[in-house]
Amino acid sequence: MMSFLTKLRVVLAILLCKLLRFASRLLHRGGTAMPGRIALKLCPDLLSRLSKGVRIVTVTGTNGKTTCSRMIEEACLEAGLDYFSNRSGANLLSGITTEFVMNARCSGKMKKHTAVIECDEAAARLVFGQLMPSVIVVTNLFRDQLDRYGEITHTLSNIREGIRSVPEALLCLNADCSLTASLSLDGLPNRICWYGVNELTGFRSAGSALSDASHCIRCKTEYDYDYHTYAHLGGFRCPQCGYRRPIPDYAISKVFQMDERHSDVLMQTPQGVIDLSVNLPAVYNLYNAAAAFTASVSFGISQEICCSALGSFSCGFGRMESFPLAGGTRMILVKNPAGCTQALEYLSQVQNPFVFVFCLNDRSADGTDVSWIWDAGFESLISMSDRIGSLIVSGERAEDMRVRLKYAGFSDQRILVIQNPASLVDHLETLDLPVFILPTYTAMLDLRKVIVHRCGGAEFWE
């Protein structure tokens, strides 16, 4: 029996959180994290109290968290599940708590009993134990914002510690990522469902000089690869200790078609093979789709519904999001070398002339260190040079990006610097060509605000 005082504390924390959120929306702020942070001060175990009785699938990892979560949401939606999620992208303990409170009654009873929660990889350690999710997806581990996360192995142990507090949860792990797959090496009691991409025969796999995991995490010997899909993902095996890519339960076994807008693939499942259409382009979205499919099926949603969801899915919020600006504008969020190199690889498949825009910010959510732009393969843009109608750099570190493109081989005269988001959109409005904008996280938020204001679209928390 909850003591009266405890009960009072919970109710007060919920009320306060709801009030703060209401106030920040009135002021047209997102108010996604702050209310939860303050509520947690009043009632530190608020999240674990609220999450009781809610069936949760949570997604963590370096790249693809938001896209994968939204794919799972789409499957939940089509399956008729009454769910909620942290769509705003506030994925730390505070933001997740806010989301739970907003879906709770003042008494502390939840209004909905299913949730899809994206969780920051560094927050997994704190969050998992309080969420007690039934399914945990780990998408991949790449080098990302070392100024914030520290070394990759540190992020890995954060996730591992988080998982240790939920031995009942089913893990959906990327078999092709030697770092992620190593979670199975430490005798965690959890059941594991593996997913992967078996090969990309006939489709160019992006060669990246940079590998975040060239050597065996167990014995430090260099891996051999049967094939690469991109970055360090693929059929790895250690010649010394035998650690190797696990055989996936769910695998994309054949790619029939991959164009600017979508991919048609064959998915191998324990129940047989099925045709799957993914309504998003690029190789990394094949992984997001495989992860979402595996997680949704593990969550009890039928394969048919998963297929239908992935076929009609559109992500939005800066991830391959389209806007009716210039001759059609697509925004592709980039955060780290692996993701950026993949976005450039996607551009190489675009047949018609386009405008290339890169928006580089260095606030803490972007990473204060912008040196990662030198680890991404902008040199590949040179081969598209005659299709690039205009080359624009923007954002608070636009000057750094200008230098990067110059050293990638573009003439400095060709590079247009438009630092301010509003001026950038003004300029884009005068153009007729399709535009591809690659922004970092806060640059995306700033730019999206301007574009949505002019062309329509949802606010970031919607």
Binding site: L146, D147, G150, E151, I152, T153, A209, L210, S211, S214, H215, I217, K220, E222, T368, D369, V370, S371, W372, I373, W374, D375, E399, D400, R402, V403, R404, K406, Y407, A408, G409, D412, I415
Partner: protein, 245 residues
């Protein structure tokens, strides 16, 4: 005219865009009509620096630095030592810079012997020294101002037979205490500056190139380049950090 460059452990010591230094070196030579050739020396490869003009070593994560130590000790260390004595130009950043020193002692007192080419050593700390930096090079290093980004927890202390590369204006530098940054010995340049270091510091890049070219070809006169993009980016960071250019 051709400059031979060796990029040591490019797959393992590849942190924070350090590879951008190689891109920068090659482009600035190319724009002046000077050929260059980069030999990428990996773990397990034989290192032969007898014909090499410039060695570049970047920084790595702890896991990766552990991976390469045995390889370094299997003969590469002696080759690097000899090359440095012969006056080969070396640019080493962060982990690579520490590696040229005597040893690294972890915070818990575990000592790890390094190449010993430079009279310096590094002690691990629990303080992470992260952020944008401004350094002023000594005259022996060209005298220019350097902007960059540092991210290290090792504190490096210089012995009497090496000179600091620069004085710290903004940031931590070698150890956050004595206001020195990097080290300079024979034709070796060591620095904690990622960023990468060279693209936004074209004067310093050209200084290193002159040292390497002079050692190989005698007198060297590098023709000036149009450095508007580099200078603008350099100045933008100085202004942001409140330093007068």
């Amino acid at each position: 005219m051709k400059l031979k460059i060796c990029h040591l452990y490019p797959d393992v010591l590849n942190l924070y865009g350090d590879g951008g230094n190689i891109i920068c070196i090659q482009q600035r030579l190319l724009w002046r009509g000077i050929e260059s050739e980069v030999q990428r020396c990996q773990i397990g490869d034989r290192l032969d620096l007898s014909d090499c003009d410039l060695v570049f070593i970047g920084g790595g994560q702890d896991f990766e630095q552990e991976v390469l130590l045995p390889d370094l000790q299997s003969g590469k260390d002696r080759e690097i030592l000899a090359a440095i004595q012969d006056g080969v130009t070396v640019l080493a950043i962060c982990g690579g810079y520490q590696m040229l020193g005597q040893y690294y002692e972890t915070y818990d007192g575990i000592r790890c012997d390094f190449i010993g080419a430079l009279d310096l050593y590094t002690i691990g700390s629990h303080q992470r020294m992260i952020g944008n930096t401004v350094y002023r090079c000594s005259d022996a290093c060209g005298g220019s101002i350097l902007v960059g980004f540092e991210n290290h927890s090792g504190k490096t202390w210089l012995g009497p037979s090496v000179q600091p590369l620069a004085d710290v204006m903004v940031g931590y530098g070698n150890n956050g205490e004595d206001k020195t940054e990097g080290a300079r010995f024979l034709n070796v340049f060591g620095s904690y500056s990622h960023g990468p270091l060279l693209p936004k510091n074209p004067v310093f890049c050209d200084h290193i190139l002159s040292v390497a070219l002079e050692h190989r070809f005698g007198a060297c006169n590098l023709e000036p380049l149009q450095d508007d993009a580099e200078t603008d980016a350099h100045r933008a960071m100085l202004e942001r950090l409140g330093c007068k250019p």
